[in-house]
Symmetry: C2
Subunit: 436 residues, 2 copies
């Protein structure tokens, strides 16, 4: 297996356990597509690489629908503060010193962390996104990248943001990497003017790309929006054309039932970020039951590492299932199977990376878990162990579009990525003149 | 390091990072006691074993103050159900078929899981506790073991429970293992009569041992207690003499302020079990702020694997810090340093296993974490990374009373423990005639 990481060719995953408890072979062709699953898969290809699937559980690679990946550099820099103090005293002063090199180093660290916890695709919003794209290009994941558009109601700033958004979309097109897509990133109703929101919607439509927006994270966002515009945030976004079948709305904590219905009608994908919401004490959990009832897309995100503080979607699945039960007061809410679907098929549909299932014709976005790990002992119901018992450490091997990104917990270059990210983070804090 | 696990002798942990960011040597003598920390520690002993502490962060071993360890066999057997359905349709029917061999296999699996996630001591309540003691004896952790005393108001059952409790205390005394202690385990105010509670309190006092009890887990427990006895559960326990400085009260979700004051006055240790409380939707989080204000002991527990579903106290620390913020509505509540103290010094004081800190004279109960793990990159504040970013997988090496239980993630015999636990779990379900 010396060529595990460099080889591009067909792959057979032999004798692997699937989520329903059966054993199967999975055949993957040179384009990274699953071409056969089952007893006859072995004959479907002349495999260049064979991965031993014994003692392994194959699941679709996870999809993280709300990240600020480069904020991995801010992990543990400041915690346990009031939201406004935390932003104004800690996060914004540090971000003011952030460079493109930092974003590159931080995004590589984030990609490494996601690979190590079974995530194959993510939906990112931040700055210096050309450098984020370079990091994703190297690391081999799939990503949808948006420049965080914030005009604060100022026309000159709006022009700057428009130019930055247009430049990123051009840049990503020039990469010609099918794994990397652009989206438009109007930050939120409280940081972007109506003119800005409308421009974002129009540009996304013109370019045929997605929209990534924060929506109703805090109660204050709703009351401020009602005071300024006389309507709730989802309705305001809809007025500006920002709610589409290619919109991912992050947080969605304070949506009322009418807004959930609206998101369902528009085919919007909601990104549940339970750990971040709990850490920042937003005091309400995304109403998954209403969003499900009205047909909105349900997906899962970690948010950035300064408010979580990791990118492990296994942990996030547990937080989601448990927070829904606790906050909406029933242990039957968001069962394991549903939250697993959010983290796989739900996310994949939202980002357009495939069906998010292990099926013939689907891209080979696959994570192999250790069935002999303590967290999988006993193994009565795989989805229960995945959601409630395991963390990302149970993942042994990760494939993205048929390329092996991690095998037996080895990711090429990881030591250098960690060393350079640590150095960048500490240098950033030094430049900002604050030891945290 | 071939003799790492078998050797009994003095140990030097050389050049390890401590929680305050400094580097130190830690010297441990043959009795498993820390005899020196710092630059001069190297000279304090003639070390039989030297552990390289570079790229390692030394923390006190974690203490889990509420477990039903053998329920690791029920991991993932049934989830996402209403509490009463879950107990009556799934858990109790299975437990009716539980054997002493099952408890031995399940407790060994639980010990393995705790070692692998940095836990050195736990407070357990279940059945066939002589077999649990045998498992702990072998595995090398510290434990306080209580037989779950449930008389349901019936006098003949009370006699049976008294005899079982007395037998366990005798059995543990006969083991003559200073790592293993007995406690009395009156299950709760809704499963034990006043006569039973009073006997437990008297017997604990006579034997000079601790008490392990469930307290105010659900709102129903409180309303039923008020209806039956005209007082809230903590006051009822106090009437029976069950609240002492050696009492660990698990859950404590529905305590009111007067009960928190009472626990503080009596010096009781409260065990916060956030993941279990969220999963079972008990709808209120333990009021840590009141318990702290009135001086009660604050500790952390995972509960059993059928309602969590793992024993990883790193994950539990994050759940605790985040649930307190979310449920009591402020991001400044239970900061990282405080929850870390709950999981270490708070638990150690509750179980009497030492100060729960790395100090000269303290037992060498130590976990070494990987400082180059992604979750520790960057490393601005060790307590933040420990609580918010890492899971138990960051632990590389664990010592309990100076004995090395895991080194570089290797635990002797782990494959056999996992194999036998899996076999026991599936055989149990077969005996119970239910495929889950």
């Amino acid at each position: 297996m010396n060529d595990t990481f460099s080889a591009r060719g067909s792959i057979l995953i032999a004798g692997v356990t699937t989520i329903d408890g059966s054993t199967a072979d999975i055949a993957i062709d040179e384009t990274g597509t699953i071409v056969a699953i089952g007893d006859d898969a072995r004959g479907a290809i002349d495999a260049d690489i064979i991965i031993d699937g014994s003692e392994r559980l194959a699941i679709p690679g996870l999809v993280n629908t709300h990240t600020h990946a480069a904020m991995s550099l801010l992990r543990g820099y400041a915690d346990d503060m009031l939201l406004q103090d935390w932003l104004s005293q800690k996060i914004w002063p540090l971000e003011a010193h952030l460079s493109g090199d930092d974003v590159y180093a931080g995004t590589r660290l984030a990609c490494l962390e996601m690979i190590r916890s079974g995530t194959v695709a993510f939906n990112d919003m931040y700055f210096f996104m050309d450098r984020a794209a370079a990091a994703v290009d190297e690391m081999g994941l799939k990503a949808t990248l948006a420049y965080g558009f914030i005009d604060l109601g100022m026309e000159d700033k709006r022009e700057t943001e428009i130019r930055a958004t247009e430049a990123l979309v051009r840049r990503i097109a020039s990469l010609n990497n099918p794994r990397i897509r652009a989206a438009v990133g109007p930050h939120s109703v409280y940081t972007v003017s109506l003119a800005g929101l409308s421009w974002c919607a129009g540009f996304a439509k013109e370019q045929n790309i997605g929209i990534h927006v924060h929506l109703s994270e805090t109660g204050k966002e709703v009351t401020d929006c009602l005071a300024q515009y006389g309507k709730r945030p989802a309705h305001l976004l809809d007025d500006c054309g920002c709610l589409t079948t290619r919109t991912v709305a992050a947080h969605c904590c304070w949506l009322d039932e009418s807004e959930c219905r609206l998101l369902g009608q528009r085919g919007v994908h909601a990104s549940h970020n339970p750990a971040s919401n709990m850490k920042l004490a937003v005091n309400r959990a995304m109403p998954c039951h209403w969003l499900k009832q009205y047909g909105a897309g349900l997906t899962l995100g970690t948010d950035g590492c300064s408010s979580n503080n990791n990118l492990d979607l296994f942990e996030e699945m547990k937080f989601a299932a448990l927070l829904q039960k606790f906050a909406w007061n029933s242990p039957t809410l968001l069962p394991a199977g549903e939250v697993f679907t959010m983290a796989t098929a739900g996310g994949a549909r939202a980002l357009g990376t495939g069906p998010g299932t292990l099926a013939v014709g689907a891209p080979a976005d696959i994570a192999l878990l250790d069935t002999r790990a303590v967290c999988n002992t006993p193994l009565f119901h795989a989805d229960s162990n995945i959601v409630y018992a395991c963390n990302g450490g149970a993942v042994r091997t990760v494939l993205c579009q048929g390329r092996i990104l991690m095998h037996e917990r080895e990711v090429p270059g990881e030591e250098e990525i960690i060393r350079e990210a640590a150095a960048a983070a500490h240098a950033l804090v030094e430049r900002a003149g604050d030891e945290g």
